[in-house]
């Protein structure tokens, strides 16, 4: 049955009841110059058969390129069972049903997801997910301002090794509430943020310090030292992490003497395909002390009147349908379907399987980095340890080389020249467990050929 909320007759009756002539009248307070008008470039609808054929043709023109782009979204193998189960009718819905009396299955999945995320991050509590990693960081900054009782400022230190899109998006979300981001320069040799950069701010009221681990360059930050510095100076620590990496790296809850305070990140690596950039989901975990400042939905486990275990939304008094303008956030939803896929992905892999994905990705990166830096005209950039991503520098502009690689069916990486011009002709290359030794050799050979051709 199609979901049609109201018929034409319903619409007519409702308009008549409020004395409006047409639906557009309801929007007449929006000035004409702010309206986009008709969508003239959108073509007429197509029948299912024709649209199916068109999309297959378009997909073929993309080809099956060998992908080495990461930069925030990561291509991992997704077991077939993940989306087979996720798209079952019981889970597959345009909307996440939250009613405890109707949706015990969905609520339990969200609860299991939260439990898995707290285990991965070493935190006490998790919400049921956010829109994506970047907006989760924006919400985390606002949360830090509310939660940090020791700080009266809204000043946040954000290393320039944090994903540039995350810095932009979180600033868009939080600057109107007075949150200001102050950048920290990274070390040119090692690619991480040195504690000396933070020491410049001693004596100032800093609300929070953001740390991305591994950072945007794939480089490991000294998370223990930065966490301890932040706490010693009255600031909270907001960790941005890759969930796959947590199978191998120290959980943010164990960073420094007392651990990070809020942990966010992009959940896409857990079972979501790259899919041209979305939909993805963000995750957010925190220490229990801050749970009442945490935005988003939280599912809890409880008992019903007969003492039977069950699941329900909890701590809703933080949310906007109850707390109105003083709610922790305008977000009152979650990315239910993507989270369902992530929960099934993690259950199928288990902690050991996730660790094998992470180890294989790291081993592949080590091999690829060694092969690429042997190519004439390619140099390694940062010395520190890496996780499935690294920066290399070419002896000429990156864009034409990437275009040449693409003609040979290889997506060679993410061009850093726009966001990090100081690095010169720098390219961020990613490799996950999905690539074979033959794939790595093919890339090295193609890069060598592309550099000769471009020369």
């Amino acid at each position: 049955m199609p979901f049609v909320p109201h018929t034409e007759a319903d619409v007519r009756d409702m308009l008549a009841a409020i004395g409006a002539k047409k639906v557009d009248d309801l929007f007449d307070e929006i000035p004409a110059e702010l309206r986009c008008g008709e969508l003239s470039e959108v073509p007429e609808g197509l029948p299912e058969m024709e649209i199916g054929r068109l999309m297959h043709e378009r997909a073929q023109s993309d080809g099956l390129a060998l992908n080495f782009i990461g930069a925030g979204a990561y291509e991992h193998h997704i077991p077939a069972a993940v989306w087979e189960i996720t798209t079952r009718g019981e889970f597959y819905s345009a909307y996440t049903p939250y009613q405890a009396e109707a949706s015990q299955g969905t609520l339990q999945v969200l609860y299991e997801f939260q439990s898995m995320m707290t285990a991965l991050t070493g935190m006490d509590v998790s919400n049921a997910s956010m829109y994506d990693g970047a907006s989760a960081l924006g919400e985390a900054l606002l949360m830090a301002v509310r939660a940090n009782a020791r700080s009266a400022s809204r000043k946040v230190l954000v290393p320039s090794t944090v994903h540039p899109f995350y810095r932009q998006v979180s600033d868009v979300i939080s600057h109107a509430q007075g949150v200001t981001q102050t950048g920290l320069v990274y070390c040119a040799e090692t690619g991480d943020t040195k504690i000396e950069q933070l020491k410049k701010f001693e004596g100032q009221d800093i609300c929070a310090v953001v740390i991305q681990q591994p950072n945007f360059f794939g480089v490991m930050e000294d998370v223990d030292a930065i966490t301890d510095w932040a706490h010693a100076h009255g600031a909270l620590v907001v960790a941005v992490v890759n969930p796959t990496s947590l199978a191998l790296l120290k959980a943010p809850g164990q960073w420094g003497a007392t651990g990070a305070d809020i942990v966010v990140g992009e959940g896409q690596p857990l079972g979501s395909p790259l899919s041209s950039g979305g939909p993805y989901f963000g995750f957010m975990c925190a220490k229990k002390d801050f749970v009442r400042q945490m935005p988003g939905r939280i599912v809890g486990r409880t008992v019903d009147l007969d003492g039977k275990p069950g699941f329900t939304l909890t701590l809703q008094a933080r949310e906007q349908h109850i707390r109105r303008s003083k709610a922790t956030s305008n977000i009152c939803t979650n990315q239910g379907l993507l989270v369902t896929a992530a929960t099934i992905y993690m259950s199928l892999l288990g902690p050991a399987g996730l660790a094998r994905v992470a180890s294989k990705s790291m081993a592949n990166l080590k091999s690829l980095r060694a092969q690429l830096t042997r190519v004439h005209g390619v140099k390694a950039v940062f010395e520190n340890a890496h996780f499935h991503e690294c920066v290399i520098r070419l002896d000429r502009a990156v864009a034409p080389v990437l275009a040449e690689l693409a003609r040979g069916g290889i997506h060679g990486g993410y061009d850093l020249s726009k966001h990090y011009p100081e690095l010169g002709h720098a390219l961020l290359v990613c490799v996950t467990e999905t690539k074979t030794e033959a794939d790595l050799a093919r890339y090295a050979l193609a890069l060598s050929a592309a550099l000769k051709k471009a020369a």
Binding site: A149, R292, A317, R318, I322, K326
Partner: protein, 130 residues
């Protein structure tokens, strides 16, 4: 019928105030307020040292279905908050005028206390709200 002790001062927003011998003023919410909110699950009190003005929202009482602000009925500096409420918010339901007190203020201007309602005045406010 909710209890409205005669010796206390009241605000229309359902806070009570009790002047102590040492000049500080104890603030809480009324029996009527706690009963209207239902079982409290969380109480957020202001930190000692915070300066508040009369009418400023400075604490939150949260029940299962609602979170409400508590307003400082007079201005001053918070000298102490009830530490028992963090672990046992139900204290506020059980004993709103005693063990369920919320915070103590050092008044900026003690005359503000005289502008508050007396028990009879507050009883009218409650009666009109029904």
């Amino acid at each position: 019928m909710s209890k409205i002790p005669a010796e206390l001062k009241y605000a229309k927003s359902h806070e009570w105030a009790r002047k102590q011998a040492d000049g500080t003023v104890v603030i809480g919410i009324t029996d009527h307020a706690q009963s209207a909110l239902g079982d409290l699950v969380f109480v957020e009190v202001p930190k000692a040292g915070r300066k508040v003005s009369a009418g400023e929202a400075c604490a939150v009482v949260e029940s299962v279905k609602a979170a409400s602000d508590v307003y400082a009925p007079i201005g001053g500096e918070v000298v102490e908050a009830n530490p028992a409420l963090a672990g046992a918010p139900e204290t506020l339901n059980q004993d709103p005028y005693g063990k369920g007190w919320m915070f103590k203020l050092k008044p900026g201007n003690a005359a503000e206390l005289d502008k508050m309602l007396d028990a009879a005045g507050y009883e009218k406010v409650v009666a009109e709200s029904h």
